[in-house]
């Protein structure tokens, strides 16, 4: 018998072949993501047309048709309105922003004293940037400087009255500076207050728990405008006759209390996510309540809720605009004031220009914060996710 071995064994690997042209490259990507079905193609075309049209309108308004120089309203008026621009013109009136820029940043803070605000801002940045950059050491010292020392330095620097600096009353403060002061104070006070309230809400002591719940739910149930209103009308009523409160301070108290109630709920979420074993472990090590919370529970809980904390900060930053309702002039307040109270720049385009400018500033701050929180979230994600 003769064996015929018909099988064939390949001795070397077949070379990998290039993917078919229909699966790679820009063409395939477009086929998959833009023109996968007839309906999708139609949607893509309509959306693209809309983007081009709106994009052209916006770019045109902001840059191509915009007015870049001028000394008063006549620069931004059409012939019908008493200016030189062609009828039907529409575009941004940037000289309005540049001429009022100092007011938008500092309010009525005296021009010759504005270096103090700038110095304060510089100090803020010098302390904040290393605090936010994970690679830079000395975090503890940095945090103490930023949260405990900086507020006092800023207080004396901005308000003055000591060390030969002239006293600048808070009535003159305004613009972006007030926005940042309120947000900073709100952020620095709301986190510790919120942690205390969250601990109170989860406490085993019934009275402490009840008080925390009542405070948190009441504050969360009413709008910030009403809280600010209470702070500005009721606080003076509660104080002994003759004792007056600074308007800015009243707003600060209102904002801090409001933010702390929201912060408390965020922290509580983190506390609830910590397994019971961690509490029991800390107890079995013989740690006291504050040691247990400070060394074992809080570090884990706070790490879990960083996105929530930053979201609360972003909300707080946006909410600082509401102080304009109790007639304090933050960034939005100064912009509004310049639009409706200043005839030098009264044109149909002024309001749009001013608000687009303010929106851009707010957007940069909020977007920056949310991006940083996403970065931190990824960095701290030491969990055991598969």
């Amino acid at each position: 018998m003769q064996e015929h071995d018909l099988s064939w064994v390949r001795t070397e690997m077949a070379l990998a072949q290039a993917a078919p042209p229909s699966q790679v490259g820009a063409g395939a990507w477009m086929r998959n993501n833009l023109f996968s079905t007839p309906v999708n193609s139609a949607i893509t075309l309509i959306a693209a047309l809309a983007i081009v049209w709106f994009g052209m309108q916006i770019l045109n308004w902001m840059f191509f048709s915009a007015i870049w120089s001028g000394s008063d309203r006549t620069a931004c008026l059409t012939t019908e309105q008493g200016g030189q621009l062609p009828a039907g013109w529409s575009g941004a009136c940037w000289p309005f922003v540049s001429s009022r820029f100092g007011y938008f940043m500092f309010g009525r803070y005296p021009v010759e004293e504005r270096w103090r605000v700038l110095l304060c801002g510089l100090l803020f940045l010098v302390l904040l940037v290393p605090l936010l950059t994970p690679r830079i050491p000395f975090k503890r010292l940095n945090a103490i400087l930023f949260f405990a020392v900086f507020p006092f330095v800023a207080f004396f620097l901005l308000l003055g009255g000591y060390f030969g600096l002239p006293y600048i009353e808070t009535q003159l403060w305004g613009g972006l500076m007030v926005t940042l002061v309120i947000s900073y104070v709100g952020i620095v006070t709301s986190l510790p207050l919120g942690i205390l309230l969250a601990l109170g809400r989860r406490s085993k002591m019934p009275i402490v728990k009840l008080l925390s719940v009542v405070f948190i739910e009441t504050v969360r149930g009413v709008p910030l405008v009403a809280v600010l209103f209470m702070a500005s009308f009721m606080l003076p009523l509660f104080m002994p006759p003759g004792m007056t409160f600074d308007k800015l301070l009243r707003a600060l108290i209102g904002v801090a209390l409001f933010a702390s109630a929201y912060m408390a709920e965020v922290v509580r979420g983190g506390l609830q996510a910590i397994p019971k074993g961690q509490y029991e472990g800390a107890d079995s090590l013989g740690l006291g309540y504050w040691q247990k919370m400070g060394l074992i529970v809080m570090p884990q809980a706070l790490k879990l809720v960083i996105p929530g904390i930053v979201n609360t900060f972003i909300g707080l930053f946006k909410d600082t605009t509401l102080v304009l309702i109790i007639s304090l002039f933050d960034l939005l307040g100064t912009v509004k004031q310049s639009i409706s109270g200043d005839p030098t720049w009264a044109t149909p385009q002024t309001a749009k220009t001013g608000y687009v400018f303010a929106a851009a500033i707010f957007w940069v701050f909020c977007f920056g914060m949310s991006r940083y929180s996403q970065y931190m979230e990824r960095r701290l994600d030491t969990g055991h996710r598969k």
Partner: protein, 418 residues
């Protein structure tokens, strides 16, 4: 236990300070004492302050003549009405803008949220850009932008933009044709002391009660059809086109009744004069700016909630319904959305509450909602405490009511386990 019996523990020497029960009791007593002290001090100061400025306390001022006008109102009001009526007008305006805002924000939010999950790259990007722009800009700024930047620079009345259906857009807002009914749909309420006085005569005067009855009848019949169809499907497996039947019932019956009653309505078109438009319905620019700003802002948050909710449903569920042979549309409706809603509803509730609370921002542009009317009342009477109490009561009850309704809906939607 043996050691205790031997008397080795010496409780007498242990300081009370180390007894957790005593410590917690002592701490709570101190807290209460401090709190009571603070409140007593504040109340004392308040009484003293009020005495000095000659303000009487109590809610009697609510019966006084208000003396200010409110341009945007849902119920009858003149400057001769009482403060109470003014506050009710304010509450109704708050509810009006909140309800319209919630509807608009939900529609935009769901569209954008689903758009962020589209397979179309361009749509995904557009929706992302929308969300990132609107949620990072303060809502008050957007309100002012619409009010002062867009609506305030619309043309004057004589150069109004003419829109289809004889409606107009100008600096005074949006003018639409109005439907004028002969009579009223609802009885008029008035308060006689604490008892409501219900007057049915305006309803009975016309023939509108026919439409009222038709609407009620249609709802009852639709409910019955839904019940029967469900029973039949459970028993026999046969399906019944419930949706279309109820739609026909709920729209058809009132329309029939409308014609049976002899079409008791006329359309009133706005008439253009030199200085003003008369007749028709008017949507005020204050309301429009507040509505647009609040709903665009809240929609950006709702979009994120919707996206997270749909992404929160495991992919296995999609694969499972495909394996069962359901078509994508049916599967989405019967499998994915009910599960996504469970994740979506709780955060959606808090967004609705935020929108309602943010309606107080209307005060910045003079929309007469509760806060703004309350502020005017306070300025005229100086009754700070009472006005604040009214604010607290109203906003807290709106919050609680919305939470209750949404919690009920949530419980209905929740996973039924054992």
């Amino acid at each position: 236990m043996a050691t205790q019996d031997l008397g080795l523990r010496q409780p007498a020497k242990e300081s009370l300070l180390y007894d957790p029960k005593f410590r917690s009791l002592a701490f709570q007593v101190v807290t209460v004492l401090v709190l009571v002290g603070c409140i007593w001090w504040m109340v004392d100061n308040t009484i003293e302050n009020l005495r000095r400025s000659n303000i009487s306390t109590g809610f009697a001022f609510l019966r006084g003549r208000a003396g200010f006008d409110i341009s945007d109102r849902l119920i009858e009001y003149t400057s001769d009405s009482t403060f109470l009526r003014a506050l009710v007008v304010g509450i109704l305006n708050t509810l009006k803008v909140a309800a319209a805002g919630i509807v608009l924000a939900t529609i935009i939010g769901f569209l954008v949220g689903i758009g962020r999950l589209s397979n179309n790259w361009l749509i995904r990007k557009i929706c992302t850009v929308y969300v990132e722009i609107f949620r990072n800009i303060p809502p008050l700024l957007v309100i002012l932008f619409w009010y002062q930047g867009v609506l305030a620079v619309l043309p004057q009345v004589r150069d109004s933009y003419s829109l289809p259906f004889n409606s107009f857009l100008n600096v005074r807002g949006f003018f639409l044709p109005a439907v004028i009914w002969d009579g009223a749909f609802l009885p008029s309420f008035s308060w006689n002391g604490f008892l409501p006085n219900i007057d049915w005569s305006p309803v009975m005067a016309g023939r509108l009660w026919l439409i009222d009855i038709a609407i009620l009848l249609a709802i009852a019949m639709a409910w019955f059809v839904v019940r029967r169809a469900r029973q039949r499907q459970a028993a026999t497996g046969q399906q019944f086109p419930v949706f279309w039947t109820s739609l026909v019932l709920i729209i058809g019956l009132p329309v029939l009744a409308f014609f049976a009653a002899g079409a008791p309505a006329t359309l009133e078109f706005p008439q253009k004069g030199t200085f003003n438009l008369t007749g028709g319905a008017n949507i005020k620019p204050e309301f429009l700016s507040l509505l647009l700003a609040l709903s665009f802002y809240t929609a950006s948050f709702i979009a994120e909630i919707v996206r997270a909710g749909i992404q929160g449903v495991p992919k296995g569920q999609t694969e499972a319904y495909s394996a069962l042979g359901l078509r994508p549309g049916t599967g989405l409706r019967l499998v994915v959305i009910p599960q996504a809603l469970r994740i979506i509803i709780p955060p959606l509730t808090s967004q609705y509450l935020n929108l309602t609370k943010n309606s107080t921002l209307g005060v910045a542009i003079g929309y007469p909602e509760l806060y703004s009317v309350g502020g005017t009342t306070l300025n005229q009477t100086g009754q700070a405490i009472e006005v604040v109490v009214i604010f607290m009561v109203v906003y807290l009850s709106i919050s609680l009511l919305t939470s209750l309704v949404m919690n009920w809906f949530n419980a209905k939607m929740a996973l039924k386990e054992r």
